[in-house]
């Protein structure tokens, strides 16, 4: 026997998901608007509650434990909220400046390593040691890096062997863009498959999925035939 709560979650979730997919019909639809606004409402509510819990767990509990410096966090947080009052909105500049400064300081220190130095180090590979597979991999990396770098030589005239090298580099980049496109497609397909799979496992969900798909499709076609799709869609 299916739990009624789980069943109702499934029915509402499945119906709203199919309404979301109604955007693929190519015309604005009230069903899509219903799903979109519901999602925004639920997500905003959840985000507020979770952030309040975070503030309590890390801030209030910390202060209760004697970590008084956290009070400054609360003061800065309240100062940020003063943005809504035009008279005192200038107070909000301070916490925003601190946040931006801290964020930049935290990430810049490490980005130099992860995004730059370590990447260069990883492309400097041994070319004459290791197994045959490693050698093939390393030589491929070495050659591709040289060819692709030659494509980005802007300060000299590209002619002769450098022109050939830049052309090969260009085609190598096309190949890598193709691989990135394939991975992007795999990712998007994965999200789609995962969301549909959520409505097919366990098997008792399958009839609900089929019913929701049919209802949304029939409703879309009917509303379109009656010229009601755009009329019933709320304005942005």
């Amino acid at each position: 026997m299916t739990d009624p709560v789980e069943l109702s979650i499934m029915v509402v979730g499945c119906f709203l998901s199919m309404c979301m997919f109604s955007t693929l019909y190519g015309k604005s639809s009230p069903l899509y608007s219903l799903a979109e606004e519901s999602y925004i409402g639920f997500a905003t509510g959840l985000t507020i509650v979770m952030n309040l819990m975070y503030i309590y767990n890390t801030g209030v509990v910390g202060i209760q434990g004697g970590d008084w410096i956290l009070i400054f966090g609360f003061i800065l947080g309240i100062a940020t909220l003063l943005r809504i009052n035009p008279k005192y909105s200038y107070f909000s500049r301070l916490p925003i400046a601190i946040t931006l400064g801290a964020q930049l300081g935290l990430s810049l220190r490490t980005q130099i390593y992860t995004g730059f130095i370590d990447q260069i180090k990883a492309s400097i590979v041994p070319l004459f040691e290791g197994s045959a597979k490693t050698l093939i991999y390393n030589w491929t990396t070495f050659i591709c890096v040289i060819f692709m770098l030659s494509f980005f030589l802007y300060t000299i005239e590209i002619k002769g062997p450098i022109k050939l090298s830049a052309k090969i580099g260009e085609y190598l980049m096309y190949a890598s863009f193709g691989a990135i496109f394939a991975q992007t497609f795999m990712g998007r397909l994965g999200l789609f498959v995962g969301s549909i799979q959520n409505f097919t496992v366990p098997p008792w969900k399958k009839p609900i999925l089929i019913a929701c798909m049919a209802i949304v499709l029939v409703a879309l076609i009917a509303l379109d035939k009656l010229n009601l799709l755009e009329k019933l869609t709320p304005e942005e």
Partner: protein, 278 residues
């Protein structure tokens, strides 16, 4: 001529409808197409397989709920192995939508949890939403006890295995399941300092995560739902990943066919229009 033209300019809604059918039909009625296991998944499995009862793993569910749908197979299969190896697990999330995921995962592996007597507080702790931004990740890496006081249920973490954690160096492994929310912060403040990291990312992110594997910041990378399915196969526990692989495979075949059709249409009409101009 008209056929080539239609190849070049078909209604995109036909593609959506086809994709919808090709994904939905195999999920409603699975076919069991074969899959192979890639070397990257084998490496990932070797890392989690080597865990033991003394190891402390920080599992970060760095995803929204939509992203979870893609990588749930990897999350479930990985956490099942960690439970089987009796490794201590601390589950943190970095997005409000992910706060419900840990309970879903533990419900999915309930049999393994019960079988191994894996108990809350003693063997695992769910922290909930504790990594909202880079500053929070940096603080946790620097001074864990100064930042983490309570678990998701509002109970103090004192007296649990988390007492052993003081900074980044006390973790045996960071296991990040990511759509890219805080993965960069985890690299910056844990991985770069030397905490071993493994990652299961969504497909869109694979190309951007590969360099971190090459540089040694990641020990292993599990790729999207496909990697999750391979891990399920390796661990001998078929789950959502393997059942989704039919749809996944057919979806990719469809893309290849559409690319071929599109190219025939493009080059065919180009050739015709050139002839007409001449």
């Amino acid at each position: 001529m008209s056929l080539l033209k239609s190849f070049n300019s078909y209604d995109s809604r036909i593609v959506y409808l086809l994709l919808f059918l090709i994904v939905t039909i195999p999920l409603l009625s699975p076919m069991g197409l074969p899959i192979s296991v890639s070397p990257s998944t084998v490496t990932y499995y070797e890392v989690i397989d080597a865990l033991g009862p003394d190891d402390l793993v920080l599992v970060v569910l760095d995803t929204e709920f939509s992203g979870y749908m893609e990588i749930q197979s990897g999350i479930i299969a990985s956490m099942r192995v960690m439970v089987e190896r009796d490794a201590k697990m601390c589950v943190a999330v970095s997005h409000p939508e992910a706060t419900g995921i840990p309970e879903l995962v533990f419900a999915a592996i309930k049999n393994t949890v019960d079988e191994h007597g894996y108990t809350y507080g003693e063997d695992y702790v769910i922290l909930g939403y504790v990594f909202p931004n880079e500053a929070a990740v940096a603080s946790a890496a620097q001074d864990w006890q100064g930042v983490i006081h309570n678990d998701f249920y509002g109970q103090s973490t004192e007296g649990t295995f988390l007492d052993q954690i003081h900074d980044w160096s006390d973790w045996t492994l960071i296991s990040d399941y990511t759509t890219g929310i805080q993965s960069g912060s985890l690299i910056n403040h844990f991985g770069l300092r030397g905490t071993p990291m493994i990652v299961n990312c969504i497909g869109v992110m694979i190309s951007t995560q590969m360099p971190y594997l090459s540089t040694g910041i990641y020990q292993a990378l599990l790729q999207s739902m496909r990697g999750g399915a391979e891990l399920e196969y390796l661990t001998g526990h078929p789950g959502p990943g393997m059942t989704a692989m039919d749809a996944f495979t057919l979806g990719h075949y469809m893309l290849i066919v559409l690319i071929i059709i599109g190219n025939i249409g493009y080059f065919g009409t180009k050739e015709n229009s050139r002839r007409n101009v001449e």
